[in-house]
């Protein structure tokens, strides 16, 4: 079996992998080249790519995806507590839990489509959040979050005499840069899988489902299994992402399941470009960047930045900019989101495509002109 459908895909993946692995280099000038944030880029990238399989390809807008993320986190932390601090069983367990949970929610939610589906998933997510917050205290530890303790059983670790207090892959700490490369590998794997899915007959069926479910069923397809499979795959991605969150930072809290977290992944996907392969990842990076970097500016920092200007002008600039940074980062993100939705309904990917095609046209027309100019007359 060949791994790639076309040479273009191979090149695409190779460049993708290179850009991801080189993140520490090119993110540094933006102030984002530190392990924790890059891990988050990769993790929420996986989450958004998985969400896109359901929303972008299949056309089901789930408003409760954070429930699977949270379930994955809890599963991974429990695996750390009971089995081993090794991330591999934790991630397998998290993915499995995400998938099973999605299958259960899917049984009910997928009976409807459109807005009703969205509301059903939202209801499930809020239910999971409330359960995790108070009812399931013994499993989730409520609002103070599920944490590791030195008294955890860790059956496998005890068996093999492995020690350590934090998640590690055979001694490599999952904090810091190793954690990032670990997440980056998973991200590339997930990206490859979604690319294969997109190019496969199954992906075609999902797109058919999106464009017109009724028509598809009239052509003899049973649409239900397709939607259900897409939902489960997407839930597994979310569970995996939740597990990765726990691997890099072994704590699981109920707030991961809140509807705001579900909304965030919708924003990520739309911002980057729903239905495109790369778009959701770009959206995830932008939103996490704003959340972590823009929120950290405070007026003192701004005064420093504009210190080269005369005082009056400096004050003017700081006054203008300060509502949009620090606590105002939501405002900036909101404005950007509005602008993109209004002018680029296909997200940032559409912007990229427009620029690319404009360049191509110009070059093409330029060549055309040139050839006309220099072609000798008959």
């Amino acid at each position: 079996m060949t791994l790639f459908k076309s040479r273009k895909d191979l090149l695409y993946l190779a460049i993708f992998a290179l850009v991801i692995f080189a993140m520490p280099l090119w993110l540094k000038p933006f102030g984002a080249g530190y392990p924790d944030l890059m891990q988050r880029f990769a993790i929420f990238g996986v989450f958004a790519i998985g969400f896109n399989i359901l929303f972008g390809m299949t056309g089901y807008l789930s408003f409760g995806h954070a429930a699977f993320l949270g379930a994955g986190s809890y599963a991974a932390v429990w695996s750390f507590k009971l089995l081993s601090l090794n991330p591999v069983p934790a991630l397998l367990f998290a993915t499995l839990v995400g998938g099973v949970f999605a299958a259960l929610v899917g049984v009910v939610s997928l009976r409807r489509s459109g807005i009703y589906f969205s509301i059903l998933t939202l209801a499930f997510a809020q239910m999971s959040y409330s359960l995790a917050y108070s009812v399931l205290m013994p499993i989730t530890h409520g609002d103070s979050g599920l944490q590791l303790a030195s008294s955890d059983p860790r059956v496998l670790d005890r068996l093999f005499g492995a020690d350590g207090t934090l998640p590690n892959l055979f001694g490599f700490s999952m904090h810091g840069m190793y954690g990032f490369y670990f997440c980056a590998l998973i991200l590339i794997g997930c990206f490859y899988f979604s690319m294969r899915l997109d190019r496969s007959p199954f992906g075609m069926a999902l797109r058919a489902l999106k464009s017109n479910q009724t028509r598809m069923s009239y052509t003899g397809f049973n649409t239900k299994p397709y939607a259900r499979t897409a939902f489960i795959i997407s839930g597994m991605y979310a569970g995996l992402a939740g597990g990765m969150l726990a691997v890099t930072d072994p704590l699981a809290g109920a707030e991961r399941m809140q509807w705001t977290a579900s909304g965030e992944v919708v924003l990520m996907t739309i911002l980057g470009g729903a239905g495109t392969l790369l778009g959701p990842l770009i959206g995830a990076v932008i939103i996490k960047y704003f959340e972590n970097i823009f929120s950290a500016f405070h007026p003192g920092r701004l005064y420093e930045t504009f210190s080269f200007l005369p005082e009056g002008v400096q004050n003017f600039f700081v006054t203008i900019i300060s509502p949009f940074v620090g606590e105002g980062w939501h405002l900036t993100l909101g404005i950007m989101f509005m602008l993109i939705v209004i002018f680029l309904p296909g997200g940032i990917m559409e912007g990229g495509k427009r620029i690319a095609s404009a360049l191509r046209n110009r070059r093409a027309s330029g060549r055309h002109l040139q050839s006309r100019q220099f072609e000798p007359a008959e």
Partner: protein, 446 residues
């Protein structure tokens, strides 16, 4: 190259080599970064990290806490009038920074959530090289950030966090809390309300349904029942509720004559305002005036509740109306800088920053091992809360607790409450291992 010839084996081989090659530089950097302790300052300055909520329901408290921190940094560096640095007994700070290094700071929005708090703290530790992280307005974030800092080998000075767990079952050797807790509120408040309303009361509890709410309810129930009260009913409400009418309606016919609202933040403001609008306070029950008690008062949210606060008893960690010289010095310099009195959130932040700075100066190092040694069982005075002990057994401060009462005739929007009674530290002291948990070892390596 013919792409058809790229089989699985070759693909794996190539990516493995490429991956290893790209990961190579980090091995060198991590080895070359070996240092005595995490983020050891090398230049002429040292960085503090302030992780406070600037958005979400606790944004007001977070913003005020940040003001407290900024003021503390100024005073440690010898700028401004020095504030409580002048009244801080037990201090060796000279107003020239810490160990001759100037203090700088970075800040971030923790959204009062565990995940966001850890993300922003991670940024300050990994990117900005913060030597210490401080700040919180919810216990969820405080506990989460405390365990993160402990794993990362730096010191965490908790901000506003009132849950017993922070220095109870989730305590860490690298984490310290100046703020009081739910248990202390119960111990301080119970005798005062029994004294004020009589010892034959029946209490109806409406409680926010999460860790803090339960522990608050538990401590009040336990302390009041010991003094003769009965508990009529204990009802849980979801966090973030805006309409409490369905929970308030049954109160009137429950046979209870006191309503205890175990809520905080906006929930407290909503529940209290609605309870008063319901006319509960104008009622008579069992031949007595119906009373409302709010065990934990947020001064900033009391402003939101407005007139409903009048005459309501509750507890506070500190209040700007206290008359000791520490408080007065702090209120004066805070007022000069920001034109308003500080909240208890700003106060605890300011004090924590000063305590950390002083501990480094006394230890002669920023190494967490030295700092922890100094702070454990450290005794001090003059920071607005009277004589205080930083107990070594659980890293909790033991000091006076204020019982506050809503002001009947406020002069302005900051004049919401008065100090009703100051409860001594002995009355609220408990055993360090009351809730289990263990401090574990000091961590100082990244």
């Amino acid at each position: 190259m013919n792409f058809r010839s790229v089989d699985r084996r070759r693909f794996l081989k190539t990516t493995a080599i490429a991956g290893a090659g790209l990961a190579m530089p980090t091995i060198f950097t991590s080895a070359s970064r070996a240092q005595e302790f995490c983020n050891a300052p090398t230049g002429s300055s040292v960085v503090f990290g302030f992780s406070v909520p600037l958005s979400g329901p606790y944004a007001d408290e977070g913003a005020d806490q940040l003001r407290g921190y900024e003021l503390a940094v100024q005073h440690i560096n010898g700028e401004g009038d020095g504030g409580m640095l002048n009244t801080f007994k037990g201090s060796v700070l000279k107003g020239n920074g810490i160990l001759g290094k100037k203090v700088e700071f970075v800040s971030g929005d923790s959204q009062a959530l565990a995940d966001a708090g850890r993300a922003t703290s991670n940024r300050m530790i990994e990117r900005d090289g913060a030597i210490m992280v401080t700040g919180s307005v919810s216990s969820a974030e405080a506990i989460a950030v405390q365990s993160l800092c402990s794993d990362k080998g730096i010191i965490y000075m908790a901000g506003l966090t009132h849950s017993n767990d922070t220095t109870g079952k989730d305590k860490r050797r690298n984490g310290f809390r100046h703020f009081f807790n739910a248990y202390m509120s119960g111990q301080a408040l119970a005798p005062v309300i029994v004294d004020a309303y009589g010892s034959d009361r029946r209490a109806y509890h409406i409680t926010a349904d999460y860790n803090w709410g339960w522990s608050q309810e538990e401590s009040i129930v336990e302390a009041t029942e010991r003094l003769g009260w009965e508990t009529a009913e204990r009802v849980l409400t979801p966090l973030g509720t805006s309409d409490y009418s369905q929970w308030l309606t049954p109160v009137a016919n429950s046979g209870a004559d006191v309503l205890v609202l175990n809520h905080y933040g906006n929930d407290m403001a909503n529940a209290l305002t609605q309870a008063v609008q319901f006319g509960l306070r104008d009622r008579q029950a069992n031949g007595k005036n119906f009373e409302i008690v709010v065990p934990m008062f947020s001064d900033l949210n009391a402003q939101a509740a407005g007139e409903a606060v009048e005459g309501i008893l509750g507890t506070a960690n500190w209040m700007w109306k206290l008359e000791d010289e520490g408080t007065q010095a702090f209120v004066r310099s805070f007022g000069q800088a920001y034109g308003q009195p500080p909240s208890q959130s700003a106060h605890t932040g300011y004090v924590q920053a000063l305590l950390y700075a002083n501990a480094c100066e006394m230890a002669g190092t920023f190494n967490p091992e030295g700092v922890v040694e100094v702070l454990e069982d450290f005794e001090f005075d003059g920071l607005g809360d009277g004589p205080t002990l930083y107990r070594g057994g659980d890293h909790q401060c033991f000091k006076q607790v204020l019982v506050v009462k809503g002001n009947d005739d406020p002069a302005d929007r900051f004049d919401i409450q008065n100090v009703h009674q100051v409860v001594d530290a002995e009355q609220v002291t408990y055993e360090p291992d009351k809730w289990g948990g263990e401090l574990g070892p000091v961590r100082s390596q990244c």
